[in-house]
């Protein structure tokens, strides 16, 4: 538990305009809001495609934020993991009720950092990329350009299962942007996130056939939060865009309903 943060107080994260997409249920049943956090290169649109509406249909207010420099959020030249985590904490604190944060890919790491700054009701880490050298070596073709300041190369074949039509996959991949070089370097360095405040329950969701996150990496993250991952075999890294997108989100919402 870290009380003193002189550096953060002396250098607060500069404000940036953020895109927040939403889908709220017609009747408020008092269920907790969900805040979806996309990974590096992804914007809020990846959740707006299927998950936001589906979540709202099941009675949960749903929101998706774009990290600065992604999607429709403000373009920034400089941003680090702290700035991204700040974006998540800001978006979460702005919601009407205490939120459940759902982070995907490297966005799961951003979420994990944000959990130390905002007492979420619960958290879900989807195909979490917690970084470190191991992840980079597993995906040399993805990470190599990033090592020289380029963007992470995320081809459709890496992100989606074969069930998704190739043209749809290519169209999605074409919409991807990139995170800042500094954030990519920090991902490679893989600093361990601080302990979450308020001890929220954390669920790890992934696929053993994910070509970016290995099965062992998935289990390692789940073990760190004291559980086992919930697995959806046959799906790609981008669970929310894949053909069988309905299964993981239903499982997550079932888990939330049960744990309340």
């Amino acid at each position: 538990m870290k009380v003193i943060r002189t550096r953060e107080w002396a250098f607060p994260v500069p404000p940036a305009r953020r895109e927040l997409r939403r889908a709220t249920p017609e009747v408020d049943e008092g269920k907790p809001p969900l805040l979806f956090v996309p990974g590096f290169g992804h914007g809020a649109w990846v959740f707006a495609e299927h998950w936001l509406e589906h979540t709202a249909d099941r009675g949960f207010p749903a929101y998706a934020v774009s990290l600065r420099g992604h999607g429709e959020s403000a373009k920034v030249r400089k941003a680090d993991l702290r700035a991204y985590a700040h974006d998540v904490a800001q978006a979460a604190a702005g919601l009407p009720r205490r939120a459940v944060i759902v982070g995907h890919g490297a966005g799961a790491l951003v979420t994990a950092h944000a959990l130390a700054r905002y007492p979420a009701r619960a958290a879900v880490l989807l195909s979490p990329v917690f970084g470190g050298l191991g992840t980079a070596l597993r995906n040399p073709m993805v990470s190599l350009p990033a090592a020289f300041g380029g963007g992470l190369r995320l081809p459709a074949g890496q992100l989606f299962s074969r069930e998704l039509p190739a043209s749809a996959g290519r169209a999605y991949a074409a919409r991807l942007g990139r995170a800042t070089s500094r954030a990519q370097w920090q991902l490679l360095a893989g600093r361990k996130p601080e302990r979450p405040v308020g001890d929220p329950p954390v669920l790890v969701v992934g696929s053993p056939d994910d070509r970016i996150v290995s099965d062992s990496a998935l289990r390692r993250v789940a073990r760190h939060y004291g559980g086992a991952p919930l697995l959806f075999p046959g799906m790609g890294h981008d669970l929310m865009l894949d053909t069988r997108w309905r299964e993981p989100i239903d499982a997550i919402l079932d888990w939330l309903e049960k744990s309340n």
């Binding site: 538990m1 009380v3 250098f11 940036a16 919601l95 009720r97 001890d199």
Partner: protein
């Protein structure tokens, strides 16, 4: 939410299980009582809930926000109240203020923030609005009997028994009025800054503002713009820091120096040089020379006072000697004729529902508390937010309450360790938590420097451990 009277209220308490002085006492078992729903009370509730405690909060007004809610009749807030700490020092550490707000948010924004905090963490359902606490008395087993009634004294009194009590009744609501000779007989209108709400009260009048605290300087600045004449009486010299230096909020510059681990002497040197090169020597305007180095007491954070002194719209004058029927005599013999005197002489702390001995309150009315929060030998009693920090108050109260919640949990998890921590806490009963030697310590008795204080809290939190105690 209604507050029904009668026996065996099913909502709150159930049937009486004990008796005190012939009155039934309703046992609330492990629930903690929070007195007041201002910022301190709200963060007490939120953190206690987070650690799995039930909470009942009693608030004498009908809305949250405490002093920051200008609708409350005890609120000291005036229309132009502005924050003197920037956002990173003002917000709760786990609930950031919106990015779209300015560096120093307005007081209406602070209220909006507190209301949002209460809604976000679903605190309002545990608050009994329009209910004031009459008495807090110790019961067996370190528990507390809390007597409440509806504000204004209508209806009956009820007694509930709680596992612990957090006193968050605020310290800026009971005006402190200095006793000047002739004050009772003067024809001049004399008000306390608590009664000052809007600049219209000053328009076209000849105003004497007494007190060089932050409020006094604010009102003097308002008077410089609105009144036909403004005198500003200060007893001693202070350091006036502008709100922005070196292109950023001043408190952030200060923490930059702390982050660089510059020793106090070096920080004082840099601050003196920066002030000298920007505002210069203030004695040329007639202000008294500060009798202490910077950081020995908190600086007055005000950019505009110097501006108005330099434009001659504020006349600095020394302390008041006595009031006459229609004029005021200053120390030094000068006579001035104001038609309105505003006493910005501060507030006194008051705990009128509690036996003063429990908080170790001495003859001067000052409680003796470890970390300015924890009384001696009362492990289940805490005073929240009784601090005058060189930063915002909210983050400090947050950590006080995290510490209190964890210490309460520790009492269940490991009683022996809890006693050891309590002893450690009480060993620092005399400690002051300031970085510099404080000048005139009797007046600034609960002034603290935020880093020194938080370091002490950090050490105790590490000692208590219990990571994962929250639910």
């Amino acid at each position: 939410m209604s507050y029904s009277t009668g026996y065996g209220d099913p909502e709150l308490g159930g049937p009486a299980t004990a008796w005190r002085d012939g009155w039934p006492v309703y046992d609330r078992s492990g629930t903690v009582c929070v007195i007041g729903a201002g910022p301190s009370g709200l963060t007490a509730m939120k953190n206690l809930k987070e650690h799995g405690f039930g909470v009942d909060c009693y608030e004498r007004e009908t809305s949250v926000g405490g002093a920051w809610n200008w609708r409350h009749n005890r609120s000291p807030v005036y229309a132009s109240t502005h924050l003197i700490s920037s956002k990173p020092f003002t917000q709760f550490p786990d609930f950031p203020m919106p990015d779209s707000w300015p560096d120093y948010p307005k007081h209406t924004q602070v209220l909006e923030y507190l209301e949002h905090y209460a809604d976000h963490f679903d605190l309002k359902k545990s608050i009994w609005f329009g209910t004031e606490v009459v008495k807090v008395e110790p019961a067996e087993g370190d528990r507390w009997d809390v007597t409440t009634r509806s504000t204004g004294g209508f209806g009956g009194e009820r007694i509930h028994r709680y596992a612990a009590v957090v006193i968050a009744n605020g310290h800026n609501w009971s005006p402190k009025r200095p006793a000047y000779e002739g004050l009772d007989d003067t024809k001049i209108e004399v008000i306390h800054s608590a009664q000052y709400k809007d600049a219209a009260q000053l328009r076209g009048r000849k105003v004497l503002v007494v007190g060089a605290g932050n409020t006094g300087c604010d009102i003097a600045v308002e008077a410089a713009q609105q009144a036909s004449r403004c005198w500003h009486s200060s007893r001693r010299g202070y350091w006036y820091t502008p709100k922005f230096t070196l292109g950023r909020p001043t408190d952030q510059v200060n923490d930059l120096m702390l982050w660089l681990r510059l020793p106090l002497k070096a920080r004082q040197f840099i601050a003196h040089r920066t002030l000298k090169s920007t505002v210069g020597d203030l004695t040329r305007f007639g202000l008294p020379k500060p009798d202490h180095k910077i950081y020995e007491t908190h600086t007055i954070v005000n950019s505009q006072l110097i501006y108005h002194l330099g434009h001659g719209t504020i006349t600095p004058v020394p302390d008041i000697a006595r009031f006459h029927r229609s004029d005021v005599e200053l120390k030094g013999g000068e006579l001035i004729e104001p038609d309105l005197v505003v006493l910005a002489t501060g507030y006194e702390t008051k705990f009128d529902f509690l036996d003063p001995a429990l908080l170790g309150i001495d003859a001067t009315g000052r409680p003796k508390l470890a970390l300015h929060a924890f009384p001696r030998r009362q492990p289940t009693l805490a005073v929240a937010g009784l601090l005058q920090p060189d930063s915002g108050l909210l983050p400090l109260v947050h950590w006080q309450m995290v510490l209190f919640a964890r210490m309460l949990r520790l009492r269940e998890a490991s009683p022996a360790k809890a006693v050891a921590v309590q002893r450690k806490l009480e060993a620092g009963l005399e400690q002051r938590w300031t970085s510099a030697k404080v000048k005139d310590s009797t007046r600034h008795w609960f002034e603290i420097s935020h880093t020194t204080y938080l370091k002490a809290v950090q050490r105790l939190l590490d000692e208590v451990g219990l990571e994962g105690a929250a639910r």
